[in-house]
């Protein structure tokens, strides 16, 4: 019995030791959040959500290049394996506890929200010198109240992907340039079991807001208060356009990130759709090669009464977080990182940097009929309407998706998306304690 007892004690001791060992092994990484300077050497931490998939230049590899050349500013990148909203929540708690990274990826739509939550550091004095490296539109999206909080990384102008060969088979010789022409063409296509547009309820908050925003912003600041109008003429045009397509069943309604969307490209049903520029490589994967070499990228037509202007869908900045003790060094690295154009392109991004021409990777141009699609994306970037996001936009986008889904089965209208966006926007601002003039 004694020996048995001893064995148990030993086992318990082993468990305890294991626990201690684990604590110990954790503790050397425990301070990843703090940037520390040690004898002139500065450590910068950077949290991202880039895909890092197979065949891409991994973020860690890009960072390793920097670290090799800059022994004094060592960067440690960590990838967040969750959703954008979860990452913001994590940053929020991290900032409160003082463990936040120096740099973090933040979508343009979320930047005002993240600012409002008090997670950002004003780095205007450092940003100025890098301004010339980036397109002015994205650069301004990293600003709040005229102050800069980081640098833009990529952009998401909306463009039109279409299968040229399929279009020609249907007798549609070019991308229709007006709404009426488009709807007529969509009907022709639908009669042949093809669709030249997709309505994506799960992307409504990003895409529909972008399309409507192309004609003019929803959120304006007057004095110190917000003027919200999500039911602009642009919005009405978008609602009208999609409603007509839905009514005649000349549009697919598969959610963008549901496998059914992939299937609709793969089986050749969907031969044209509005897409964000960064979708190109994903689109290629989804298609499984269907129509490779036949697809093209075109600018949006004048479908929404705004002379073919486009709007933003996605795109991210990298922001400097509040507790960073080395904003200068962080910005120095960031400028370098965000101008590593070919590496960023490999991650599927359309870089916001203007320092180097982003070249269309060869697989992309193979798929898109030899087209230099990066050039199309850049043109789209230059034709983008001004769209400012409000703080708390994620709640608005979530509501828009939900309402958009109701329009697919006829239990709601596309126009409801915008009326719901209006009420949710106003509620959100008020709940944040911001003033709204109605």
């Amino acid at each position: 019995m004694v020996s048995h007892n001893k064995r148990l004690v030993a086992a318990l001791a082993a468990v305890a030791a294991m626990g201690m060992g684990l604590a110990g092994c954790g503790s050397d990484t425990a301070n990843t959040g703090d940037s520390s300077s040690d004898g002139g050497k500065v450590t910068i931490t950077y949290m991202h959500r880039l895909p890092d998939s197979e065949g891409m230049t991994l973020v860690n590899d890009i960072v390793a290049k920097w670290n090799k050349e800059h022994p004094d500013i060592q960067v440690k990148a960590t990838k967040f394996d969750g959703k954008a909203s979860e990452m913001i929540k994590k940053l929020e708690t991290d900032v409160k506890s003082g463990e936040a990274p120096d740099l973090a990826q933040v979508g343009y739509a979320e930047l005002p929200e993240v600012f409002t939550k008090g997670l950002l550091q004003d780095v205007t004095q450092y940003a100025e010198q890098y301004k010339g490296d980036f397109a002015s539109g994205p650069y301004s999206l990293v600003q709040v109240n005229g102050k800069a909080y980081g640098l833009p990384q990529d952009t998401g102008p909306l463009v039109y992907f279409y299968n040229k060969a399929e279009f020609e088979k249907l007798g549609i010789t070019e991308v229709p340039q007006t709404a009426d022409e488009f709807i007529a063409a969509a009907k022709t296509a639908a009669a042949a079991g093809k669709y030249i547009m997709s309505y994506q309820p799960d992307e409504a908050g990003n895409m529909i807001s972008g399309l409507a925003g192309a004609s003019g912003g929803w959120y304006k600041v007057k004095g110190d208060s917000w003027v919200v109008n999500t039911e602009t003429d642009g919005s009405k045009a978008v609602a009208d356009f999609y409603q007509q397509l839905l009514d005649v069943k000349a549009v697919t309604t598969n959610p963008r990130w549901d496998p059914s969307f992939d299937a609709s490209i793969k089986d050749g049903q969907l031969i044209g759709t509005v897409a964000a520029a960064w979708e190109a490589p994903l689109f290629m994967t989804s298609s499984g090669g269907t129509g490779s070499g036949e697809w093209q990228v075109a600018q949006l037509g004048d479908w929404f009464g705004n002379a073919g202007k486009t709007g933003p869908d996605g795109g991210s900045a990298v922001a400097v977080l509040k507790n960073s003790k080395h904003p200068k060094e962080a910005m120095e690295f960031l400028d370098w990182f965000n101008t590593q154009v070919p590496d960023l392109v490999s991650q599927g991004l359309v870089p916001a940097a203007t320092t180097e021409d982003a070249k269309t990777p060869s697989e992309w141009s193979t798929f898109f009929g030899g087209q230099d699609i990066m050039k199309e994306f850049k043109d789209a970037n230059n034709n983008m309407g001004d769209f400012t996001y409000m703080p708390g936009f994620s709640a608005v986008a979530a509501k828009m998706n939900e309402t958009a889904a109701k329009a697919t089965d006829g239990s709601g209208k596309v126009a409801d998306i915008f009326s719901d966006a209006q009420t949710t926007s106003v509620d959100t601002l008020k709940n944040l304690g911001l003033s709204v003039s109605e």
Binding site: M1, H4, N5, L8, V9, L12, V15, M18, G19, L22, A23, C25, G26, S27, T29, A30, T32, G33, M47, R49, P51, D52, S53, E54, G55, M56, L58, N60, T78, K79, F80, D81, G82, K83, E86, K89, K90, T93, D94, K96, S97, E99, P101, D202, R256, W257, P259, S260, D262, A263, K266, D267, L282, T285, S286, S287, G288, G289, T290, G348
Partner: protein
């Protein structure tokens, strides 16, 4: 001491007797008199139902295995019931998805599986021990505040644990424990349900007389617990262990908030990352990750089945 030995002997004898009874029962079942044999119809229906259930439970797993060898376009384009490529090309297809999986997890996949094993194993071990101790305490001792403690713990079974993650983060940060293994292990080794089971088991299977006898023999309370009580509760502990192990293995919200170092992540976090990133469409690779990620749990289940089935038996009878 003598009591403990007696118990030991007794329980071993009991186990032997049980085994014998089982054998006899099995034998009986197989040669029931003809009049008592079920009719052919009953037999057929039973087999049909059992096989139908078998298909229901195994089909999704079978499908996932098939799917794990497919490319995104094969997922929608090929027969869902069979591999998209010929058997000779299968290794290449598997290697491709495996490559995607390893790429996505930045070469950390197996490290994460190991982390998951550590988290689940340590949490379950420590959690089982403390739950049984507490269960035993409330079942066999009167101490001040006992009923309050029981009430509070049982009440917490109703509290959605996931919602406590944020405050837990704050508290663990104050203790400088965030981004360490302990920040996952500590929350995962506390289970009101484990306590509840431990208590029920202790109440019903530890005889008071035995404890009294041991005390009269002069055994200390600690010795009584570790040498006598733990032994009696062993099958019950397997149930709690299994429950805690699986719960920890499945948890992703806690590690999502608590750790940011790549080297500390559990495997579910990587899988969740693939699911939550809408733009990740390589679902075959995801399925492969899911299957490889649960493999250790399945091995554990199969390897320990004799033990946990005994544990479940003890629990079911007493529960």
């Amino acid at each position: 001491m003598s009591t403990a030995e007696a118990i030991d002997k007794e329980s071993r004898a009991a186990a032997r007797a049980r085994k014998k009874a089982d054998k006899i029962r099995d034998k009986h079942a197989n040669d029931l008199p003809r009049s008592m044999q079920p009719s052919a119809l009953v037999k057929t229906i039973t087999i049909v139902v059992l096989v139908f259930a078998l298909i229901y439970f195994l089909f999704p797993i079978y499908w996932a295995i098939i799917a794990s060898t497919k490319t995104p376009s094969q997922m929608t384009g090929s027969n869902g019931l069979w591999f998209a490529v010929g058997l000779s090309d299968l290794p290449a297809a598997i290697a491709k998805n495996y490559g995607t999986l390893i790429g996505w997890t930045r070469g950390q996949f197996w490290r994460w599986v190991l982390n998951s094993l550590i988290y689940s194993g340590v949490s379950a071990l420590v959690g089982t021990l403390v739950a049984v101790m507490a269960g035993y305490a409330t079942a066999k001792f009167n101490f001040r505040g006992k009923n309050l403690a029981i009430g509070v713990i049982m009440g917490c079974m109703l509290m959605p644990a996931a919602l406590l993650t944020i405050p837990q983060y704050s508290i663990f940060h104050a203790m400088h424990l965030t981004n360490t293994m302990l920040s996952i292990i500590i929350p995962c080794c506390v289970s009101p349900f484990g306590f509840f089971l431990g208590r029920v088991y202790a109440q019903t299977s530890v005889p008071n007389e035995l404890l009294e006898a041991a005390r009269i023999d002069g055994a200390s309370e600690a010795r009584i617990f570790f040498t006598i009580v733990l032994r009696i509760l062993a099958p019950a502990m397997v149930t709690i262990f299994l429950f805690l192990f699986v719960a920890t293995w499945n948890n992703f919200l806690l590690p999502l908030m608590m750790v940011s170092s790549d080297t500390l992540k559990p495997v579910t976090l990587g899988l969740y990352g693939m699911v939550s990133l809408a733009t990740f469409t390589d679902r075959g690779a995801l399925m492969m990750g899911a299957l490889l990620g649960v493999l250790p749990v399945i091995v554990l289940f199969l390897g320990l089945q004799r033990y946990w089935q005994a544990g479940l038996a003890a629990g079911a009878v007493k529960g």
